[in-house]
Every structure is written in C-alpha cells, then in structure tokens.
C-alpha cells in the first residue's frame, strides 16, 4: 500500500516560532502537495512540487515556504507562526504526467498556534 506519513498528528506552537511539518512518501511519486483544511473552506493548496528542488505556489502560499531536498520528503515551513495558521495540514503525493492516477493523502497534522 502507498503510504504518506506526516511526522506529527498534533502540534502546539507559540506565535513567532519557526515550525516544520514533515511528510514522507514511500511510492517514488514525483508530485507532492501541501494542503490546508479549514471548516467550510475545504482543502486549499499551499505549495506543491513536481520534482526534487522544484516548487510551485498554490492558492495560499503567504506565510509558508517548502523544501524538497529528496524525492520522498516534502517539508512545509512556517517561518514565523501566527494564530491564523492554526489549522489541519494535509500532505499528498501522486505520480507525474499520468492522468489515470490519484493523490494519496497523509493522516494530517493538526497545528495549534497559541
């Protein structure tokens, strides 16, 4: 089975802290994604990557950055956490340029910024 693993299920951080959310996939997927999930808003794309060291902004990149140094790992970075970044964060991965595919999701990290 494809596995997308997020390093933490729950995190509590203080305002102004630098926060790292880690995601690892074990299926050699080219594409990786970070989404944010908020009630009533569904999932919104923060950043995605289609190759190592490549990244693209999604719909809501402000306040976030990402790193992809290895194919299997995609990190989301909050440079200076703020209370409005309290949310559920979901990582996903998929194969590249094959339309008959799907995105596989991790379990999510619920981040609380206090």
């Amino acid at each position: 089975d494809v596995k997308v693993t997020q390093s933490s299920r729950y995190l509590v951080k203080r305002t102004g802290e630098k926060v790292f959310l880690e995601c690892v996939q074990d299926m050699d997927h080219e594409n990786m994604f970070w989404y944010r999930q908020d009630p009533g808003l569904g999932l919104r794309l923060i950043y995605f990557s289609y190759d190592v060291k490549m990244k693209e902004k999604g719909d809501i990149p402000e306040g976030y950055s990402v790193s992809r140094e290895k194919k299997e790992r995609f990190s989301l970075i909050l440079e200076s956490a703020s209370t409005n970044q309290t949310s559920m964060y979901l990582c996903a991965s998929s194969w590249d340029r094959v339309w008959n595919t799907e995105a596989f999701f991790g379990q999510g990290t619920r981040l609380t910024v206090v």
Binding site: E30, G42, L43, A92, W99, N100, A103, Q107
Partner: protein, 113 residues
C-alpha cells in the same frame, strides 16, 4: 480558474436510504474529477475518479458518480447508505502541471439509525 461547488454543507439520511451528494465544477477544458471521503480524524481516501469515457463511474464502498457535461456536474450516489458512511465528502477537479486538486468545501453526511 477552476472551481468546485458543493451546495450542501450538511446532509442527514436514514440508514438504508438512498444518497446523492451534489458537485458542480467550473473548468475550461475536459475536467478530471474526483470524490474523496474523510472519516473523523483520518486523511482523505479516494472513492472514485473520472477522466474520460463512460460518464457513469463506479467506485469503492458501493458509490457511483455520473459526469454530466451539460450541467457541469459530478454527483455522487449510493443506493443504500450504511452507518459507516457517515463522514465528510469532498469533490475535486484536477488540473495544472502536477494535476493539483481544487476541492469543494465538503459535505458532512450524518446517518441516522
């Protein structure tokens, strides 16, 4: 830009009753459409997907969806709901260089015994 609308925030059905969850999309080209389900505390699981061909697609857990281009819709159906179907359901359209997903706001399904 693409968008997805799920007009029903919350639906309640009795166990054994039929179910239809609505999804409307806006996209300039041939859409690539998905339905995902999220159980409490879990990540998202793919129920079914549409890329081309037969407009009625079958998925897991007895779900099906019908693509109607004229109505820009991709509604999810199940003939008889089980209590374990209680969850949040998301419709999504895939596009872009990495076929990144644009999601609707979700429909929360409650199943009454």
């Amino acid at each position: 830009a693409q968008s997805v609308t799920q007009p029903d925030i919350h639906i309640t059905v009795s166990e054994g009753a039929s179910l239809e969850l609505r999804c409307n999309y806006s996209y300039g080209a041939t859409p690539y459409l998905f339905w995902y389900v999220q159980s409490p505390g879990q990540g998202l699981q793919l129920l079914l997907k549409y890329f081309s061909g037969d407009t009625l697609v079958q998925g897991i857990k007895g779900f099906e969806a019908e693509f109607k281009r004229s109505q820009s819709s991709f509604n999810l159906r199940k003939p008889s709901v089980h209590w374990s179907d209680a969850a949040e359901y998301f419709c999504a359209v895939g596009s872009g260089s990495a076929r990144q997903l644009t999601f609707g706001s979700g429909t929360q399904l409650t199943v009454l015994p």
